[in-house]
């Protein structure tokens, strides 16, 4: 694997984003708008906002990054640049690594902005260390990149790729413990939620919002989320076919 080709790809993706300021603005602002909306919904239920605000801090970036990444790679397929890259010395993991790096970097900026707003002006109260909260949000965004790249490996059209969002992301939202605590779910569903990455992200966020000394548990959750992200990336590279019909 060549670091220079991976970096060149990351740089290219970031340059593409730079020429598209509206997407940058939307990706930075949408999670902020949603967190603000949540704060307004729970204007008279501060405790509920504290309970839901942190997990959603992980969920919102997951959605925006998933959509942008999956569509970005699909666009490469549709316009033929992917075919051209697959005929070049660029490796499949180098290509996906470049995507993960660039969107990961962008997601870091996004996480910092939305965490700053939510913990500052919106007044979300968390017990655990704030730095870990930001780190977890970034890792979830990386997971979004990995899942997005994986999803687009199975999509041939724009219609297909957007359908992967309700298919891959929404079941995780239902099962992650935000709506019903995971340990109160039927055992079958609990077992399913155990193998879904968002469950660990939300567990981590719950630890952070509820416990003071949650560092160790959260670090474990972060490691699991990162492992899922890396797994999705490798699986995405493995399922990306060089030869197509």
């Amino acid at each position: 694997m060549s670091a220079s080709r991976t970096l060149a790809t990351a740089r290219r993706v970031l340059l593409q984003l730079r020429h598209d300021p509206r997407t940058i603005a939307l990706m930075l602002l949408v999670p902020c708008v949603l967190e603000t909306l949540l704060r307004l919904i729970y204007a008279h239920h501060r405790a509920t906002f504290d309970e839901a605000g942190a997990p959603l801090l992980a969920f919102f970036p997951l959605t925006t990054v998933f959509l942008v990444t999956s569509i970005a790679l699909l666009r490469e397929r549709v316009t033929g640049t992917l075919e051209r890259l697959l005929a070049s010395p660029l490796g499949r993991l180098e290509l996906l690594g470049g995507y993960a790096l660039s969107f990961g970097l962008f997601a870091t900026a996004q996480a910092i902005v939305v965490c700053a707003l939510t913990l500052g002006p919106l007044g979300l109260r968390v017990q655990g260390p704030v730095a870990l909260l930001v780190v977890l949000a970034v890792c979830v965004a990386l997971l979004g990149t990995g899942l997005g790249l994986l999803a687009s490996a199975f999509a041939r059209t724009e219609f297909q790729v957007v359908q992967f969002f309700p298919l891959i992301i929404l079941p995780q939202l239902l099962l992650c413990g935000l709506i019903v605590a995971r340990n109160r779910m039927p055992s079958g569903l609990h077992a399913i939620s155990d193998v879904l990455p968002l469950s660990y992200a939300v567990d981590g966020m719950h630890h952070l919002s509820r416990q003071v000394g949650a560092g160790g548990a959260v670090t474990a959750d972060i490691a699991i989320v990162l492992a899922f992200a890396a797994g999705a990336l490798v699986l995405g590279a493995a399922t990306l076919r060089r030869r197509t019909d």
Partner: protein, 250 residues
């Protein structure tokens, strides 16, 4: 154009396959969507010359090019590219591939596009932009360019890094005659520098600009010969007519 001027074209090199083949097909059949789009193709072309791939739309030109580039699935038979398998790292390092539709990033500038491909395969972008006559557009976004200009950005991305093998799928389509002439001159120069070029087109008139042409129809190779041989064999200088006579001769 007279028969003499066609014969005066580059006809010094023999059309018979030599041991110096850059690319060789041996009994290659390609299936797409359950039907064969290339049937038992045997062909080869060598370095140092411009080989034209001519045939109507849907004849299998792009499939043949994709098979050499190593991105076509369901290929049966043997294809050897510079002594290696298509799609192998050794081939990908020295291959410049221009797909049929301009496959470049329209949200990047011309220079950013070519620089990205240079960072993958090596090479300088200044020289390449000059060769495709885009130096003055280097900092323009591709999405603001005309179709013909986009095609040249795509060509520049294939040329960067001086690849030994160039697969150009309809590089001159939609370009004005002056620019077409310049590009065919450029292809001749690149061949002179030792590259192997396979250039597809459906405009038979452009066959005159090739050292050798491969004529394809309905997934089969009808003939592989020099432009001069084509007019001798068919008794006409009109290339469209020559193509028709070749088909009727079979």
């Amino acid at each position: 154009m007279t028969a003499q001027s066609i014969a005066a074209g580059r006809t010094d090199s023999p059309s018979v396959a030599s041991s110096m083949d850059a690319v060789r097909f041996r009994d290659v059949t390609v299936q797409r969507g359950g039907r064969a789009v290339l049937h038992h193709v045997d062909a080869s072309f060598s370095a140092g010359r411009v080989t034209g791939l001519f045939g109507p739309s849907g004849s299998g030109k792009s499939t043949l090019i994709r098979a050499i580039a190593g991105v076509q699935s369901n290929v049966h038979g043997t294809i050897t590219v510079l002594g290696e398998r298509p799609g192998s790292m050794a081939v990908r390092r020295v291959l410049g591939y221009m797909t049929q539709s301009p496959s470049v990033y329209e949200d990047l500038t011309v220079a950013e596009n070519v620089r990205y491909f240079a960072s993958i395969r090596g090479g300088e972008i200044g020289d390449v932009l000059e060769r495709v006559q885009l130096s003055s557009h280097a900092n323009q976004l591709v999405r603001n360019l005309s179709g013909g200009q986009r095609a040249r950005v795509s060509l520049a991305a294939a040329l960067v890094g001086r690849p030994r093998l160039l697969l150009l799928d309809e590089p001159t389509v939609g370009l004005d005659p002056l620019l077409r002439r310049d590009l065919w001159n450029l292809f001749g120069e690149l061949a002179g520098e030792g590259a192997a070029l396979l250039v597809s087109s459906h405009v038979l008139d452009e066959a005159r600009r090739c050292d050798e042409v491969i004529l394809v129809r309905e997934g089969r190779i009808i003939a592989q010969l020099t432009p001069a041989e084509l007019s001798v064999r068919t008794g006409t200088e009109d290339l469209d007519e020559a193509f028709i006579r070749l088909i009727e001769q079979r």
